[in-house]
């Protein structure tokens, strides 16, 4: 069940902006066992030259979750979450994510192909503020294991 190449170029946009919360940043930093003070203490972040605390380098995955979910739920892709494996992930940050940011994601399917019997889906998500300031580009590759190979 190879994916239709016509899916390439399809875009998904945030249903509403993601508002970054100070406590969400702390919760995420706690969840990756990272004690760095720049994620929690505004004074520590200011000492590094930031206006406020910053999010860890991989926090952007939280922001992209909703549009990524739209892909997984897209009936035309026919994916089952527990058969999806994360193949690659990359972030290019224009600036760190900070509390109060209102972020909008635009996800584009860059490519679909088959490899080793799996569907391989590559996506690009541009994260920007509601006023259009670019913040981060997130590139992801997902593998979908078909049921019969399980």
């Amino acid at each position: 069940m190879a994916l239709d190449p016509k899916l390439v170029g399809r875009t998904y946009t945030s249903a509403q902006p993601y508002e970054v919360g100070r406590e969400k940043i702390r919760e995420f930093a706690d969840a990756v066992n990272d004690p760095h003070p720049a994620y929690r203490d505004p004074e520590a972040a200011k000492a590094l030259g930031h206006p406020d605390v910053i999010a860890p380098p991989t926090f952007a995955i939280v922001v992209t979750r909703e549009t990524s979910w739209q892909v997984i739920e897209d009936p035309e892709l026919d994916l089952a979450l527990h058969r999806v494996l994360h193949g690659e992930q990359r972030f290019a940050h224009t600036r760190p994510i900070r509390p109060g940011d209102q972020l909008v994601c635009t996800l584009t399917i860059d490519s679909v192909k088959q490899a080793a019997g799996m569907d391989v889906i590559s996506t690009r998500t541009e994260i920007a503020t509601v006023s259009g300031e670019p913040v981060c580009t997130a590139l992801a590759t997902l593998f979908h294991r078909p049921e019969e190979s399980a």
Binding site: D34, P57, R83, E88, A150
Partner: protein, 142 residues
Amino acid sequence: MAAAISYDDVEPGMALPPARYPVQRADLVRYAGASGDFNLIHWNERVAHEVGLPDVIAHGMFSMAEAVRLVTDWAGDPAAVVEYGVRFTKPVVVPDDGTGAVIEVSGTVKKKLDGRQVQVDLVAVSGGEKVLGQARAIVQLS
């Protein structure tokens, strides 16, 4: 931005201090909650086995977050990591045995780039397997 490391003090081949990051089932449950990724294979053994995995596996994003701590701790300012990418080559298998798994991370300055940036290549090993491939960060130094 204020990295603690000066570009002038860094040469290709320089090793970052290595680190070991433990991971237990409870970490995966907490990461699931914090990240919103409740994929069953990260906490449910039955489903993990059903899809052909040896056991519950860590979120790739959890391993990715652990590995970059080596770089953010070295640079001092986490925002110095301007680019960061990995391939998830092997799963980090996290048994429910009271011990869990360990992700061992090492890093090397691969090359110096323009604009006082360097490329750091990371190696992450768990259970004797390389769990990340092409793990690479571009770091803005002072």
